[in-house]
């Protein structure tokens, strides 16, 4: 019986045996994120962050369930002799985490957490929506005429379009020929040899058409006194989702914030979420403002317009008719127009609702949702975008303006 020593074989010469199982584990984590995306998004840690910042989201690892003992099972541990009955050895909810207690035998929280970036999370979110690639493209087909491109050179032009490289090359070419004619060796003393006007070359710019991917999001919010903190938080979460979604699809996304009570004004993001107004509500005022801005700055043939309005549904009765009309107008110019009524549970049912009023809107690209709690956000958002998918074909090729646009609302 003699002992065998097997020499070291470098990892590089062995197969990475756990590679496939690690991959499967990663996929499992992604699946579990997808299944719980509503809960994850409802966490305040995600919403309310700076949108461009990449953050990390802790995800519980995939659990392996077994029959195990619960919390009333006593444990035995070794102390330093100072312990006496009644001492607290572990506080609060940190069961199973590292120090203290008998971590190993308690189920508690699985200490291992996986980080994913916000970007990854959003990618998973939109995978979950299962929007086919084709339709994402269809939405980009809006043509922008603003674009220009370089095409060839001209001998004359304005200074900013000077092609320095071509100009310098011309000068060098001229210098070579001059040198040859003067029969100077390469070592000869260099006379001054300035640029000549004939050397100058300018870019020629031609207008071109380009598939634009511009989108603008109109965030319209009721800032009247009845919109409390909870409601605003829900609204903000929704806008966050919308922004992330639209940003994925378009290269250039702008956001317009419109706050309204009885009158509307365009505000900064900061003011939009933090300024509290008081008074009553004319919903129509917000829509009118949006229509004005669209006409001014975001012509729908160049811009994909998404508008979403959050309100608690309290509106002056006399305004309902006007609001309905304005909403119909908005439908005609928007890819998607949504109305979200925020009714946190516990809020009174006797407060008004616009759902009935807006229920009369027949446009395909109009969608209403009700948000009662954080968990509704994802479902609401999902159904909102499903609408986008359904109306995707009709959403482009529309013409701005009242009656002309009417036909475009039909599929």
């Amino acid at each position: 019986m003699s002992t065998v020593f097997r020499p070291y074989v470098p990892s590089s010469q062995r197969s990475d045996r756990s590679a496939r199982d690690r991959l499967r584990h990663r996929q499992k984590i992604k699946d579990s994120i997808r299944d719980n995306i509503g809960d994850i998004l409802a966490e305040e840690s995600i919403i309310g962050r700076d949108r461009d910042k990449i953050i990390k989201v802790p995800i519980r690892s995939v659990k392996e369930y077994r029959f195990i003992y619960g919390e009333n099972s006593p444990g035995v541990a070794q102390g330093d002799g100072q312990q006496k009955p009644g001492d607290v050895v572990q506080q609060g909810d940190q069961d199973g985490k590292g120090q203290g207690g008998k971590g190993g035998d308690q189920p508690g929280v699985d200490a291992f957490e996986t980080d994913i970036t916000l970007e990854e999370l959003i990618a998973i979110m939109f995978d979950d929506l299962e929007l086919p690639e084709l339709e994402r493209k269809a939405l980009k087909e809006v043509v922008s005429e603003d674009a220009r491109k370089r095409k060839g050179h001209r001998r004359a032009g304005i200074r900013p379009r000077l092609d320095k490289r071509a100009t310098a090359r011309n000068r060098a070419r001229r210098w070579m020929s001059v040198r040859r004619s003067r029969e100077m060796g390469p070592d000869g003393e260099k006379p001054r040899f300035p640029f000549h006007e004939d050397d100058m070359r300018y870019y020629h710019i031609v207008p071109t058409t380009k598939e634009a991917s511009n989108a603008v999001i109109f965030c319209i919010m009721d800032t009247s006194g009845s919109m409390g903190t909870v409601k605003k938080y829900l609204a903000r979460s929704f806008y966050f989702l919308l922004y992330q979604f639209v940003r994925q699809k378009y290269a250039n996304v702008e956001v317009v914030f419109i706050a309204h009570h009885t009158e509307a004004k365009e505000v900064s993001e900061e003011d939009f979420f933090h300024k509290v107004e008081s008074g009553g509500t004319y919903i129509s005022s917000g829509y009118k403002k949006a229509l004005d801005i669209i006409e001014d700055r975001y012509h729908p043939s160049l811009w994909n317009v998404y508008a979403f309005h959050c309100s608690d549904g309290d509106n002056f009765y006399s305004d309902n008719e006007r609001a309905l009309q304005a909403a119909e107008e908005l439908c005609k110019v928007c890819n998607l127009f949504g109305y979200g009524e925020i009714k946190p549970s516990g809020s009174a049912y006797y407060s008004g609702s616009m759902l009935e009023v807006f229920g009369q809107i027949k446009a395909e690209n109009f969608h209403m949702i009700t948000i009662e709690k954080k968990e509704d956000l994802w479902e609401g958002f999902r159904s909102f975008l499903m609408k986008d998918k359904a109306s995707g074909v009709s959403a482009h090729g529309k013409v701005f303006g009242g009656s002309e646009g009417a036909a475009s609302a039909a599929p």
Partner: protein, 485 residues
């Protein structure tokens, strides 16, 4: 820093000499030199050179790697597999002393594997590596089978893993077949032999239920389902069998953690002290030894507890301090014995390493004095906190000891048995939790029940006790329903 194999062989020969001198009875030993990455890989797959694939091993790898990368936990110096020949890994970057220490430690484990009854009755050491390899090949073949595929196989393994530890713990106890159980049930139902039967009134007789399956409650749930679910295709049945067989291999390791690590530590300590290490190495040995064996306040270090107990047993038997329960007519003594191997203490520990498992080991040899020395205490949940409830004092030590015994090794796994495979004449599987004061964790119970349901393919119910109330857990629709019994 890696060491030439020749150098290690020289040390190994010296160690082996001592191993033989002390009468350790080992399998042939093989060492493989690996780096830290390979070690992480082996750890994820419980040391096996080949093992069937499953995502949980990927999870385990990632967890180990994260902890290692962030310095939360180091790597074990050694990893050793219960097989014949015994296979162990040495990390090439360890210092020479660590390699020597590890080699000595591994021989301790090797001897324990080869002699302890849990291992000798539960596993066939010469076939271990081969059987793991064949399991891996079978599982891979199912995964590659186009009519089955990776996902179905993975789901099946998920289900099987959920209940794989619900099996008999003591592998030395022979499992009776259904027929043998029926015979036993009938025999038990017969009135005891009575020479005065003629004049005694006829005793009341209740006929045994001989048609029930299982005749006696069954602890091996996987095996039971594989046998009694008639609708399982062969590949599913095979996966259940494979997972069950592999779990059986790990049961002895779970059940002898304290003894096994203590035994290996006892021997590395003894051997290294006799190697006449150069001074530098000797100091490093003391440092490393204390690192491994230091107590973990707030936890329980099995190396430490085992090491202390083995030394205590040897001391007590040499001094005749065997305690009331164990005293012979004449207390043993080491006086006048010149060969160390013949001292009663040494003989006793060899006997114990063969015949005990952690639970009996602690019950028999954990004395109040040691518990006080180690400052053992019991903690329980009070509200949100964990609170010290008992310490190893005059009135508390017995309870602390009982609870320690309950929670070591397989004691931390609830005992759940199949009572009836045709409950309500409906092919409902009736499981019963043998409650010992500890409730089940209900979230886990719910999901585990779903796993059982998935392989039994009919309703599964579980009888247990929640906060002292007898209850029946059922899965209705997709959620857990608790009925009071």
């Amino acid at each position: 820093m890696s060491h030439a194999i020749d150098e290690l062989s020289v040390w190994d020969e010296r160690i082996l000499e001592l191993v033989h001198k002390y009468g350790l009875n080992c399998y042939p030993q093989e060492f493989e030199i690996c780096d830290h990455n390979e070690m992480l890989g082996y750890m994820a797959y419980t040391g096996m050179p080949s093992h069937y694939p499953h995502w949980s091993y990927g999870k385990s790898f990632e967890r180990q790697k994260t902890m290692y990368d962030y310095g939360v936990s180091g790597l074990p110096y050694e990893m050793v597999i219960n097989s014949n020949p015994c296979l162990a890994y040495l990390m090439r970057d360890n210092s020479l002393l660590l390699q020597v220490l590890t080699i000595a430690h591994v021989y301790g484990h090797n001897d324990f594997f080869a002699n302890n009854f849990t291992f000798t009755s539960g596993t066939k050491a010469q076939h271990v590596l081969q059987s793991f390899k064949s399991h891996a090949q079978r599982i891979s073949s199912y995964q590659e089978d186009p009519s089955i595929g990776i996902e179905a196989v993975e789901a099946m393994i998920d289900h099987a893993h959920a209940i794989c530890y619900q099996r008999s713990r003591n592998l030395a106890i022979k499992q009776l077949s259904q027929e043998q159980q029926i015979v036993r049930a009938w025999e038990r139902s017969q009135p005891p032999a009575d020479p005065w039967r003629e004049i005694h009134p006829t005793p009341e007789y209740t006929p045994p239920n001989l048609t029930r399956v299982p005749a006696e409650p069954q602890e091996n749930i996987l095996e039971f389902i594989a046998k009694y679910n008639p609708y399982l295709p062969e590949w599913k049945r095979d996966i259940l069998t494979i997972v069950d067989a592999q779990t059986q291999y790990f049961m002895p390791q779970m059940d002898t953690k304290i003894m096994n690590e203590g035994w290996a530590s006892y021997w590395h300590h003894k051997i290294l002290n006799e190697l006449n290490l150069p001074q530098g190495m000797h100091i490093e040995f003391l440092v490393r030894h204390n690192q491994v064996l230091r107590p973990h306040p707030g936890g329980l270090n099995p190396y430490h507890l085992g090491f202390v107990l083995w030394h205590d047993i040897e001391r007590r038997w040499n001094q005749g301090d065997t305690g009331k329960e164990w005293s012979d007519d004449k207390p043993p003594t080491s006086e006048g014995i010149t060969d160390e191997n013949d001292t009663p203490g040494r003989k006793k520990i060899f006997e114990v390493r063969e015949a005990d498992r952690d639970q009996s080991f602690l019950r028999r040899f954990l004395t109040r004095e040691i518990m006080e020395d180690l400052n053992l205490f019991q903690h329980e949940r009070r509200g949100k906190d964990r609170v010290v409830t008992k310490i190893a004092s005059e009135d508390g030590w017995k309870e602390v000891k009982e609870n320690l015994i309950k929670s070591v090794g397989t004691g931390s796994i609830p005992v759940i048995k199949v009572e009836d495979a045709d409950f309500g004449k409906n092919r409902t599987l009736y499981l019963k939790h043998y409650h010992d004061g500890r409730d089940l964790q209900l979230e886990y119970a719910e999901h585990t029940l779903k796993h059982v349901t998935a392989i039994w393919e009919r309703e599964v119910v579980l009888e247990t006790s929640i906060n002292g109330k007898e209850s029946l857990l059922k899965i209705v629709g997709d959620s857990l329903k608790i009925e009071r019994l």
